[in-house]
């Protein structure tokens, strides 16, 4: 086991895939969280014509097939495409754009539904306490911090496990845009199963850690002990 782990961790291709995956997932989750949380708050707070349609579109995007998003981003970024001059195709930045488009609606939709459920009573409470507008917003964010964290973890999980969009937009270039998932896909097609399985285990391990963090947060909520 130890030898196997040593081999896996000393393979530069695998290390680079882990690095690319992490860079991409962290960047896209960060951007998608800022956008998604902001949109979610605005969507819950304000009434405007067409709000129902916006919500419906967002729900549709929450379940959009990543490979379709990948295709659209590819068409936008390809040399003859409208954003071609930016030369973002086959770069990590391009992959982050695709991932952000996939994750933002998910985070926005989740935040929106959490807010719909709890924001009215928090707002009412804030009025009775005499909180001003900013104190109310801060209170809502603080009260929903676990939910916000849960959304971010979900987004991150989606990002590290995604294959289709990063394959199309990133191009699976070794050492540059090859992620853990696209490496597995490639290894399988070459019939190299051992390393594929090793990478798979690494990914599962990451998913487990994420799940564990979520679990800790939920448990903290239920515990009656001092904290």
């Amino acid at each position: 086991m130890a030898d196997w782990l040593k081999n896996v961790l000393s393979d530069p291709n695998i290390l680079s895939a882990v690095r690319v995956t992490f860079t991409m997932a962290v960047c896209s989750t960060a951007i998608a969280s800022v956008l998604g949380i902001t949109f979610g708050i605005l969507l819950e707070r304000f009434r405007f014509p067409g709000k129902k349609i916006v919500i419906r579109i967002n729900r549709t995007l929450m379940g959009s097939p990543p490979v379709v998003v990948g295709l659209i981003v590819y068409l936008l970024l390809m040399r003859r495409g409208p954003l071609g001059p930016l030369s973002l195709l086959f770069t990590i930045q391009g992959m982050v754009i695709a991932q952000t488009l996939i994750i933002t609606p998910i985070i926005c939709g989740m935040i929106y539904s959490y807010l719909r459920r709890s924001a009215p009573s928090i707002r009412e409470f804030a009025v009775t306490m005499g909180a001003d507008r900013w104190q109310t917003i801060r209170l809502i964010i603080r009260e929903l911090r676990k939910e916000i964290y849960f959304c971010m973890v979900t987004g991150f999980g989606r990002s590290i496990s995604e294959v289709g969009a990063v394959m199309l937009v990133g191009g699976n270039i070794r050492g540059r845009t090859r992620t853990m998932t696209t490496t597995i896909s490639l290894l399988k097609s070459q019939g190299i199963f051992t390393e594929g399985v090793a990478l798979g285990i690494l990914l599962l391990l990451m998913a487990f850690v994420l799940q564990w963090i979520c679990d800790m947060l939920q448990r903290e909520e239920q515990e009656d002990e001092n904290y």
């Binding site: 009412e124 009775t128 005499g130 001003d132 904290y227």
Partner: protein, 201 residues
């Protein structure tokens, strides 16, 4: 506080208060059957609802000096202590630890000071919410139905604390209930409500 020609619609319900005088420094009771608009009236006074028509003259009391204790108090996702000092925190007042402990002690919540607030029993939640309402010394306190579901011990505690506050530095209380007894015992002025209106009895 003077309420004149106040109107507030919520769905098919209509609250209509032609005239209601809430004298400062006294304990007022509002009695009426369920669904007669007591809570809507309190929430409108508290500023949670905006009146559709008419006005409330607070006679110099600002919105920050009014607080309301809800029927089901909202407790923040944190400890008993942090819930208690929240109104002080947002007013940038440093809590006097002695007074905080004294209040908790009186309500029998001192042992739970560092405990997670949402693990409290419903009676303890009401007590905490009551302490949180009085801790920042507001000028008007609105209490919604709390007295209807308290155990005798807590009811005695609330009554005692209200009387104590009135003796030292009287503030205005508006206590809503569908239980005549509790309200009549404590309140100096009692108003009756029916179908969204204040009626004479």
């Amino acid at each position: 506080m003077k309420i004149t020609d106040l109107e507030k619609r919520i769905g098919t319900f209509r609250l209509q208060i032609d005239h209601l005088d809430i004298e400062p420094g006294r304990i007022h009771g509002i009695i009426g059957p369920n669904g007669c608009g007591k809570t809507v009236l309190l929430k409108t006074i508290a500023g949670i609802y905006k009146p559709d028509q008419g006005r409330i003259d607070y006679e110099g009391v600002t919105s920050r000096e009014i607080t309301m204790m809800s029927q089901r108090p909202y407790l923040m996702d944190t400890t008993v202590y942090k819930n208690l000092i929240y109104p002080l925190q947002i007013r940038k007042i440093r809590p006097e630890e002695g007074r905080v402990d004294e209040l908790l002690e009186k309500a029998g919540l001192l042992a739970q000071k560092k405990q997670y607030a949402r693990s409290l029993s419903s009676g303890e939640r009401q007590k905490l919410s009551f302490l949180r309402a009085v801790i920042f010394r507001p000028r008007i306190i609105l209490i919604d139905e709390t007295f209807s579901n308290l155990d005798p011990e807590s009811e005695a505690l609330f009554t005692e604390m209200i009387r104590e506050i009135q003796k030292k530095d009287p503030i205005t209380w508006v206590i809503v209930s569908h239980q005549m007894e509790a309200v009549h015992q404590l309140c100096e002025v009692v108003h009756h409500m029916e179908k969204g209106r204040v009626v004479e009895k």
